[in-house]
Assembly symmetry: C2
Homo-oligomer: 273 residues x 2
DNA sequence: AAGTGGTCTAGACCACTTT
DNA sequence: AAGTGGTCTAGACCACTTC
């Protein structure tokens, strides 16, 4: 993290080898010198420093981060370099820029973020907020497969959640979740049921874990007897099955989720671009 | 297209009101003055001019476009402004940058592009190229729904294609397509069958229509008798149904596609980011 | 008026590719 | 050596928000 690729300045102001030392100003424990010796552009190093401040909670979701000018001074680089770093963070939805106001830490407790991880849309009309019914919330031991995907040891504590989501009275989504017990200690059915807003908003504001991105594998499956009862459909009804792995900062997997979607009046909306 | 937001130059070189006149250099018929009077940043205007050259075929898929320096001279703006325009075009996959070589028009006839619109992956192992079997290729008249989605008139000519894709002998995808007859005049089963590479590659190189982006609606459905025969499964087997609308330059819809995927050994891979 | 992000310019040098 | 995109700086001004 200490090397700077070059020093093309003739003036004395913007000296080199500064990004690393400036990194020390970001507070918490940075990994010491002996890291990977690969070169990277200055703006990538700045981006990494800013990301560390986000991850450490120095700037929390919804909060204003320092201005580009201030960050440029702090890291001893030009505003343009800070700008390019923040541009990429904004493209990854880690921060949100607002002209005239500043740059804010992205939060799932915002209208704009609500449909980034909820791709099920009604075939007709505008989306409504679903009713949540928590069927089961308990702490269990991780099975081998769950442990592998969450990078835990087999038998480690895991929070298991099973819930049913209904749109205007129509049960539509049956979901199971597995979360690392370590990260979600006080998570109970009550906390979940009473929380207004998206589940990821609760995770980020109450448990300090913010979901950054996710991968999903989609399949068509037949409803078994138990599932059919919850969704009030015939056994064997085709359902859309979405197996999700969600990641937080540092590409660390922190959630498994299996969703079974009844797609008679809803569809999974996707953009290929 | 003629206005330039401001003229912050004190030197005489980079004059104003030049982007518009430079646009005339791109050859084909630009829309005259009376367009919308909304302001837009210079780099957005440059981006629009470059996009027009892409759309008009001045630079074809796979070809090298002029260097940033040359474009800056042509449009009478700084290299940085051209750079920002091309940055966005690269982010939208309209062009591909290669350091030291130049900027190229993106093409579906490239390994890198093969999996942008083909999201079905094997559960195990690496993806293989499927075998194509064309069941039906004919010209028909557009039904109301097809006409509406393709922005045609009901009854206009449409090319209809039905094909079966198999991976290592296992029939997996049954697909139907509807294409505007106007744009795909010489499209026959022979042309399709003999073409090596992705179908979108054929469309762009033989018919001058390049797919830029698409939307998909995914549902789980039950295989009916006909579909079950093609895919060699029992009637009622759950299948993943993907209804796609593809767009070319100018957000013009130019393809409808319904894919039925057998997801016992395959899944639809999606990234939420 | 002051502060923020957004745009634009000009010039330098680096990394990579080709000649 | 020459040409390309990639990085970095410095400074100017614009658009928007707040005080």
């Amino acid at each position: 993290m200490n090397q700077v690729p070059s020093n093309p300045n003739s003036n004395g102001a913007a000296g080199n080898s500064t990004a690393g030392s400036a990194g020390g100003a970001s507070g918490s424990g940075l990994s010491p010198a002996g890291a990977s010796p690969t070169f990277s552009p200055l703006y990538q190093q700045i981006k990494a420093l800013i990301t560390q401040s986000l991850q450490s909670g120095e700037w929390k979701p919804g909060e204003l981060i320092p201005s580009e000018v201030e960050l440029a001074g702090r890291y001893k680089v030009s505003q343009g370099t800070v700008r390019k770093a923040i541009d990429e963070l904004a493209a990854e939805h880690l921060v949100v820029r607002r002209q005239g106001k500043g740059t804010f830490v992205a939060s799932h407790n915002e209208a704009r973020a609500h449909y980034r991880f909820l791709k099920l849309m009604p075939d007709e009309g505008v989306p409504h907020q679903p009713d949540h019914h928590y069927i089961e919330v308990k702490r269990i031991r991780a099975a081998a497969e769950v442990a592998r995907l969450l990078d835990l040891k087999s038998g480690d504590a895991v929070v298991y959640i099973k819930r049913l989501l209904s749109f205007e009275g129509a049960p539509t989504i049956l979901e199971e979740l597995w979360l690392p017990g370590q990260l979600f200690k006080g998570l109970t059915a009550e906390r979940l049921a009473e929380y207004k807003g998206p589940m990821y908003g609760l995770f980020e504001s109450e448990f300090g874990t913010r979901m950054i991105r996710a991968t999903e594998k989609l399949r068509a499956v037949a409803a078994d007897a138990g599932v059919a009862t919850y969704l009030k459909v015939a056994e064997g009804t085709p359902l859309l099955c979405a197996d999700r792995v969600s990641f937080t900062y540092g590409d660390k997997a922190v959630e498994l989720r299996r969703g079974l979607y009844l797609t008679t009046a809803f569809h999974y909306q996707n953009e290929l671009s």
